[in-house]
């Protein structure tokens, strides 16, 4: 049954990527320049996930101020920069998203 091998293979590569460094954690010490580079991982990866979702919902550009994704994204970003409280950022962004969504619809 080929599907079994698909699952086994997917498990091996997924878990492998996540575990290979942890497995030898007591021996693996990353050089300082890599540690410095890794500081930029959260901003880079999360930005690369979020920005296309906000500017291109459904994979099409939508920069109108009636786009809930754009409005919610801008409000969350502004709140995050000004107040720096994650919970406020989340709530503010979500409220702006749904307000725009239902006012427009």
């Amino acid at each position: 049954m080929e599907l079994v091998w698909v699952i086994v293979g997917m498990f091996i590569v997924t878990f492998g990527v996540r575990f290979v460094l942890y497995a030898r954690a007591e021996k693996v010490f990353l050089p300082p320049w890599i540690e410095q580079a890794l500081r930029f991982v959260p901003v880079s990866v999360l930005g690369a996930i979020v920005v296309p979702m906000v500017l291109m919902p459904n994979k099409e550009w939508d920069l109108s101020l009636t786009s809930p994704w754009l409005v919610g994204g801008i409000v969350a970003f502004a709140l995050g920069l000004i107040r720096q409280q994650p919970l406020l950022t989340i709530i503010g962004g979500v409220v702006a998203f749904f307000l725009t969504k239902y006012l427009v619809a």
């Binding site: 990866v45 919610g72 962004g93």
Partner: protein, 239 residues
């Protein structure tokens, strides 16, 4: 923090992303059902592989009759970004027994990384009990993912237009809330802007390749900006 309160803390800070993941899990389950596969395929993918976006890609490839090795290599590329997360969190799990590290590696998703990483950075989580918060995050993510997969498989077709509800925005807002505290110096702005622009330009590349390349571009630009800043500061000031 005690073990129990750290566990609850991890679950709590993951809550918006768990909410945001609900529609994805339901859509995934219903996708397996409408593709005509047994519930065991849905369960096996969510319970054993546990990697959201690669599960969506895999079910599409399976339905198209793609050879196993292509599906497995595609999964590898899609999930390669988790290697960066593991490298980044390595210093916080190094002291743990290997069994603990294996469990934590299994749960190293975008969401759990995003949930715990800022609190390791600001000191709320540390070596004593941080791994319990990490575990709390992954257990709640895992439970949500498997429950919603089953829900989607059996009743997904009766929940119309789920993808237009916009619950996914909770995840977007959470990620934004994690990004913004970093934006105090130029190198982080540089990383964010270059990664975002790259991701937008490469949005049509298959298999999350655009995301992977964007992450590497962002990290490199952050480093480069920091290097240039340092060079500038070291220049002897004239006059």
């Amino acid at each position: 923090m005690t073990k129990g309160s750290a566990f609850r803390f991890g679950a709590l800070v993951s809550a918006p992303m768990i909410l945001g993941g609900v529609p994805f899990g339901i859509i995934f389950g219903s996708l397996v059902a409408t593709s005509g596969y047994s519930v065991w395929l849905a369960v096996a993918l969510s319970a054993i592989v546990f990697a959201g976006s690669s599960q969506f890609i895999a079910i599409g490839l399976i339905a198209a009759g793609t050879p196993a090795w292509v599906i497995v290599s595609t999964t590898f590329i899609v999930n390669l970004r988790h290697f960066l997360y593991a490298a980044d969190l390595l210093k916080y799990v190094r002291h743990l027994p290997v069994g603990w590290r294996a469990v934590l590696a299994f749960g190293l998703t975008d969401e759990t990384y995003a949930a715990v990483r800022p609190y390791y950075a600001n000191g709320r989580l540390n070596e004593q009990t941080g791994h319990w918060a990490y575990l709390g995050s992954m257990v709640t993510m895992y439970s949500m993912w498997n429950v919603t997969t089953l829900l989607g498989y059996f009743v997904g077709s009766q929940m119309p237009n789920l993808s237009t509800w916009g619950l996914e925005f909770a995840m977007v807002a959470t990620f934004i809330g994690i990004i913004t505290p970093y934006l105090k110096t130029l190198p982080y702005w540089s990383a964010l802007i270059s990664a975002s622009v790259t991701a937008l330009l490469l949005v049509r590349l298959p298999n999350n390749l655009g995301l992977l390349i964007a992450a590497l571009v962002g990290v490199s630009m952050g480093m480069l900006t920091e290097y240039l800043q340092r060079q500038q500061q070291q220049l002897p000031s004239k006059g």
